[in-house]
Every structure is written in C-alpha cells, then in structure tokens.
C-alpha cells in the first residue's frame, strides 16, 4: 500500500502559542500527531520531543527491522516497534521534565500511524485521535484516554450532559508524566481508497464525527481537505490548537488504471 498525505497545524483563535506538533513521511509510511501541555514553552518542547523520538526510533526500525522488536505477545514486530517508540518518547520527555525546573509536569499526547506492508499500525496515548474514513462511514481507531471517555466506557448509559465535571479535558494517560506509559496499539488491514485522519482535540472538540466525515467527503486535494477542517474548527471558535493529517491509501504496483490515471 502506498500513501499520499497532507498535514496542517494551526494555532487556533484563543491560544498564544501552538503546542501541537505533527510529522508525515510517505516514504517511510510514518505519521505522528502530538499535543503538548505544560507551562510557558514546555508544551511545545514535550510534543516536539515526542515527534523526534518516535521518528528516530521508527526510522531505525524501518531501515533494519531488528530483533529487539521481535513479536511481543499479541503484536507483530512493526506494532511492537511503534509501542517501543512511544515508550522511548515517554522516557525522554520524563527525563527532560525531571532535569529542568521549567519543564516540570510537562507531557504530551501521541498518535502514531505506521504502514508496514499491508498492515497499518495505529497507536495512541491521550486524546489525539486516528480515524478511518470510508464513503459509508467514519470510525475512530483510537480510544481517548480522558476522564470522560473512561467514565463513558464504564457507564455506557450515562448521559455526559448530566455532569458538571469538565472531564473531557482531563487526561488519564499522557506521554512523559510518569516513568512508564501504557500505549494502546491496533493493527488494521486497510483497503485501497481508505482515508486515515489523525488530529488533535482542537479539531474534534469543535466538530462532530459526522461533520468531519462530511467535510472529508466533499473531496478535493488532501491539502484542501485539511484546510477545510482547520477552517471549520476555527469558525466554531478555535479554542485550542488544531492539527489535521490526512492520508490516502492506494494500491501499490502498476495496475492498468494506475498507469492511465495514476498519480
């Protein structure tokens, strides 16, 4: 499967700085969204550290998939590597926050997608999301690690509007807060034509899944779709930094159709 992607990050309308960082590499098939938190510039440091750590680890794995990422329990070597890359990022951010007073308490979300052969590995910590988008629906491939989402999972019939607790913005897991981190990892066999959207909560707090689905299906170049999503979130108030990375998965090889119309 080969991937074409576009990505965009925007400060939004209410914040003074952008603590989101993203990365997209179609050659390696690696995509990262990180949403940092912490005072002063610490949020930006945390999210960019997550991106650089994950990128370094995964590029090394991509060049030579090595033994230390051999199958771990229920995961393939590629999924194990993604999990390890987030553990590495966690150690690096945690260490930085211990070493420097101004970085104390900083952390970040991490959403990582890695295409390996015909399998897409997705992983996350925190509330940055990964969606699978097809003509007939939108599916969140990640679980949010927020107090609200955890509560909803345990009490499926509970009405979130009944609570006055702002649980939506309270993370129960983040990268760099503790010495270790638990990462959710999934493996998916995508189909040609699938779209994958990765985003920070600045997008999903402002737009519903249905609105995102509609906006993506309106089509256009991948860059235009990202622009459209960010613009919509800003029109709704743009309360937080907004990041959107959109990937289009296509069949590899030289089919007749692709020879004639291929990009």
């Amino acid at each position: 499967m080969k991937i074409h992607s576009a990505g965009l990050t925007d400060i939004g309308r209410k914040r003074d700085n952008n603590e989101d960082t993203f990365y997209a590499d179609d050659q390696v098939g690696l995509y990262i969204v990180a949403d940092g938190m912490g005072g002063h510039r610490a949020g930006e440091v945390a999210s960019s550290t997550v991106v650089s750590s994950v990128k370094d680890y995964m590029e090394a794995f991509h060049t030579s998939p090595v033994a230390k990422d051999a199958k771990e329990g229920n995961m393939s070597p590629a999924a194990t590597a993604v999990s390890h890359s987030i553990e590495l990022a966690n150690r690096v951010v945690f260490q930085l926050s211990q070493d420097q007073g101004s970085y104390k308490g900083m952390g970040s979300t991490a959403a990582v997608a890695y295409m390996h052969g015909d399998t897409l590995v997705t992983a996350n910590v925190g509330d940055s999301r990964i969606y699978l988008i097809r003509a007939d629906g939108i599916e969140q491939l990640t679980q949010d690690h927020t107090l609200l989402a955890e509560h909803m999972r345990k009490n499926p019939n509970w009405d979130p509007n009944s609570a006055s607790i702002p649980m939506k913005h309270i993370l129960v897991r983040a990268v760099g807060i503790h010495e270790t981190v638990e990462t959710d990892v999934y493996e998916i066999q995508p189909l040609p034509g699938d779209l994958i959207l990765m985003c920070s909560d600045g997008l999903t707090d402002m737009l519903s899944d249905e609105e995102i689905h509609q906006a993506v299906l309106e089509g256009g170049a991948l860059e235009e779709v990202c622009d459209r999503l960010v613009e919509m979130a800003n029109e709704r108030g743009g309360l937080d930094n907004i990041t959107a990375v959109l990937m289009l998965l296509q069949k590899e090889g030289k089919g007749l159709l692709q020879k004639l119309f291929g990009s």
Binding site: D35, D127, R153, S164, L171, V172, R173, H178, I188, D240
Partner: protein, 234 residues
C-alpha cells in the same frame, strides 16, 4: 449548586449538596460526610463556603488530604477538583451555569495529577493515575469456533489475526484454492472487523463480504472449505 461526589474506585457512593454550608468529612458518625475507612481520620477535613467559593481545609489528619494529587492544608476548590481522602475520592462539582464562569480555566487540557509516592501518601500505586488503573477496555475477548473443516477453537488474542493457507496465517485454512492469507480480523475499539485480502471470496452469514465488515456475535464466516463461528468469550 455545588456538590461533593463521594467515589470509591469507579463507584459513585453518594452526592452531597454543599448549598452554601460548611461540611465536615471524617470517619466519626458526627461528620456531615462520613467515610468509613481506617485511612480516614475521625475528623479529617472540612469544606467551608466563602462567598461563591468553597475552601477545603485538612484538619491535621493522619494520612493527609490531597487535591489532584497534591497534599494540601487548605485550598480553594475548582470545579472537577479531585479530593483524595484515604482511598476515597470526593469530586467537587459545580452545576453547568457555574461552570460557564470558570470555563476559561477548564478548556485547558490538563493531566490528572497523582501523588508521586511521597512517604505520607496513602495511595499505594503511585505509578498509575488513580482513575486510569480501573480503566476497562472496550475489547471483549472473542473466539472463532470451527463449524466444519478444521480444528476446534481459536481464541483471538492478537491485534490482527490472519486466516489462510500460508505459514504466516494464524488460523490455518486448508483447500487448494485458499490464498495464503485470505482474510484478516482486526481487533479495535469499535469491535472485531473482518477484511478479505485482495480478491479472496469470504462469506459472512452466506453473503459475500465486499470491503470490510464488523463482526457480530454468532456470525458465521466461510473461508474456502472452512466455516467458522465468531462469538464472545464468557
């Protein structure tokens, strides 16, 4: 109206309306909020109304009072503050109108604080945030049972299960025309999704699958000469 919601693990035990009053919290029956646990002092802490605000004060309790993971002697409460007393949690909660005023503060993403294993900390698992360790996964364990043409049962523990004739397949399917990998089953937050590989013809409940399909309990999956049934464990 301001409330204190008493929780133990993920169970909500009781709500207490503050209604501009003062409330004491402790193990003794004379308290307004009685928390029956040996880690809780007789008179452990109190919450006092001060204008529109509420102030929490630790009454020199033996094991301390923690707000969002930090030990406090006295603190003005914010909506959503988590007060840890022994192993019980009191969540301070305002109603939506009151919250709107404070909304600016709560739009900030924050991490739920956790006491980091100091000597006085009564919480025993400082590694994991209090609420995270009771997290329940949405994924229920599931099985594939052979209805014809194979072994007995296969428990889906892997994130991505491959079905086919090849050595790389997790579920071996015989048959000369069966592809090396005919289909995969991916386990994810929304459930189990079956996807045929390439042009493999896979039927679920006698209907050929195009694209991908979310499995429901007791679906029958037909791959080559083999019929499997999907169901949840336990």
């Amino acid at each position: 109206m301001a409330q204190l919601i008493l929780k133990f693990k993920d169970l909500v035990l009781k709500d207490f309306d503050l209604a501009g009053d003062s409330k004491t919290i402790g193990r003794e029956p004379g308290n307004d909020i009685v928390v029956e646990n040996l880690l809780v002092s007789g008179y452990h802490a109190r919450v006092d109304a001060a204008g529109k605000d509420y102030i929490l004060t630790d009454l020199q309790s033996k094991n301390g009072t923690f707000v969002n993971g930090e030990q406090v002697t006295s603190k003005k409460l914010k909506n959503g503050d988590q007060i840890l007393i022994g192993k019980h949690l009191l969540v301070f909660s305002l109603d939506p109108a009151e919250v709107e005023e404070a909304q600016k503060l709560t739009e900030e993403t924050m991490f739920i604080g956790v006491a980091q294993g100091t000597a006085e900390t009564p919480s025993q698992e400082p590694e994991t945030p209090l609420l995270a360790r009771t997290a329940v996964s949405a994924e229920r364990p599931a099985l594939l049972s052979f209805m014809s043409g194979g072994g007995a049962e296969y428990e889906i523990t892997k994130k991505l299960v491959k079905l086919g004739r090849g050595a790389e397949a997790d579920v071996q399917i015989g048959g000369f025309f069966t592809p090396k990998v005919a289909a995969t089953i991916s386990r994810r937050p929304t459930g189990y999704h079956l996807t045929p590989v390439g042009r493999a013809k896979i039927k679920v409940n006698d209907t050929q699958v195009t694209g991908s399909r979310r499995l429901r309990e007791f679906d029958t999956i037909e791959v080559g000469p083999v019929k499997l049934q999907f169901y949840y464990k336990g």
